[in-house]
C-alpha cells in the first residue's frame, strides 16, 4: 500500500463519515432549515473528499480534473436547490423560531400530540 493508496483511502473514509453525519443531521434536526444546513454543508464536503480520493490514485491529471468538475456541478446543484427549498419554506409560512422567543417545547422531549407549536407540527 504505497502512500498514495493510504491517503486515498483515508480521504474516502472521511468523505463517507461526512455523508453519514449529513444523513444523521437530516434525520434528527427539527425543522427544514437546520436539515438543509446539515445536508448542504456535510454532503458537499463529503463529496469533495470522495472525489479527491480517486483523484489521488489516478496518474493522468485529466481524470482528476474531471472529478473536480463533478464536484463543482454537485456544489452548484446543492446550493441552488437548497436556496429554492429554503425560499419556499419561508414563503409557505414555516418561519424559523426567532432567537428571542424561547421555543415552545424542546424538540426531543416534545410529544407531538400534546405540543401544538409550529416546530413540532412540522416535524411529525
Amino acid at each position: 500500500m504505497n502512500p498514495q493508496e493510504v491517503i486515498a483511502s483515508l480521504l474516502l473514509l472521511s468523505g463517507c463519515l461526512f455523508f453519514i453525519a449529513g444523513t444523521i443531521g437530516l434525520l434528527r434536526f427539527p425543522d427544514v432549515f437546520s436539515r438543509l444546513h446539515a445536508l448542504t454543508k456535510a454532503d458537499n464536503l463529503g463529496l469533495f473528499l470522495i472525489c479527491a480520493g480517486p483523484a489521488m490514485r489516478r496518474e493522468p491529471l485529466c481524470s482528476a480534473g474531471l472529478l473536480l468538475i463533478v464536484w463543482m456541478l454537485g456544489l452548484l446543484a446543492a446550493t441552488v436547490s437548497c436556496h429554492l427549498i429554503a425560499r419556499r419554506a419561508v414563503r409557505s409560512g414555516q418561519m424559523e423560531p426567532r432567537a428571542s422567543e424561547p421555543p415552545a417545547c424542546v424538540p426531543r422531549t416534545c410529544v407531538p400530540r400534546t405540543c401544538a407549536s409550529r416546530t413540532c407540527a412540522s416535524r411529525t
Partner: protein, 327 residues
Amino acid sequence: MRAPDMRVPDMRVPDMIGLGIDAVLALAIVWLALQTVRSRDLFKAMLMFVVFGLLMSLAWARLHAPDLALAEAAIGAGITGALLLVTWRRLQADGHEPADSEHPPLPLWLRLPTAGGASMLVASIGWVALELPATPGTAGELAWQRIDDIGVSNPVTAVLLGFRAYDTLLEMAVVLAAWLGARAVAIELRPGALPGPAYAEVPLVGALLSLVVPISILVAVYLLQAGGNAPGGAFQGGAVLAAGGVLLCLTGRLEAAAQTSGLERVLLVLGLVVFSLAGLLVMASGGAMLALPGLWAIYLVETALLLSIAITLVLLFAAAPGLRRAS
C-alpha cells in the same frame, strides 16, 4: 481489436469487495422497488422510483454496461422522473390530491401468490439459464468479430447503428409516435399551466442556468462524438440535451406556444427522415439497405437522432404544442 478502455474483469473471480458492493446495491434496489409499491403517498412513490432509477444505473455500471448506465441515469431516472413529477403537479393543479383508493383490484390472497409465483418463475428460469454452458456462435460473439467492418469500436453503437440499424430506425418511429400520440390526446393548455414561472425572478436560478445549460449542450455533443469508441451515443446525448431544455422550461425561460413551429416540426421528424433517406440512398447506389457507408454517415445520422430525441423529450415534458422564448 477491442476498445482499449473497455477493461473487462473476469466475472468469474469473485473478489469480495465487488461482491459486497453488488449485495448492498441489490438490497437497496429491491428495497426501493418495495417502497415505490408500498408507500401510501404517491409523491413519495415517485421519488423512490427516481432514486431506484439512479441505483439501476449503478447496477448497469457494475454489470459492465456503461452505455446503459448513462442511458438509465439520463433517460430512466432523469427524464422519466421529470415527466412523472410535472404530471403530478398538473394533476394537483385543481386541488385534489390523487390518493390510492382503499379497495385494490385483486385481494391480497390473490395478489401475493401471482406476484410471488411470477418472481419465483423468473428466478428459477434465470438460474437454469445461467447454469447452462454459453451457447456458441451467439449474435454477440459475431458482433465482436465483425466489429471492424462498421468502423466503430464501441460494440453497442456498432450493433445499434450497424448490424441492427433497422431496430433503431423503428425505435425513432416509436419516439415520434409517442409525441404524436401525446399531441392527439393533449388537453388545451390553460395559460400559465407550464410549471415554473414562480422561479423566474430568483437571481440564483439565472446564474445556475447560465452555467448548467451550456454544460448540458457540451456534454450532449461530447457524448455524441464519444459514441464511436467509448460509452455514449445519440440517445444518451439527446437525453442530456433534453435535460437542459427541461431546465429552461422549469425556470420560465421557455413558454408554451399555441402552435408547433415549423422548426420544431422539422426537428421532430429529422432523425427518422435522415436515417431513412441515408438507408435508401445507400440501397439506390447499389449497397444493401441501411448499410451506412462510413463513419461520417453514422455521425450524421446520430446528430439527427440526437436532435429529434431532445426536442421530443422536451415537448413531452412541456405537454405543449410548441415552445418559444419567454416574452
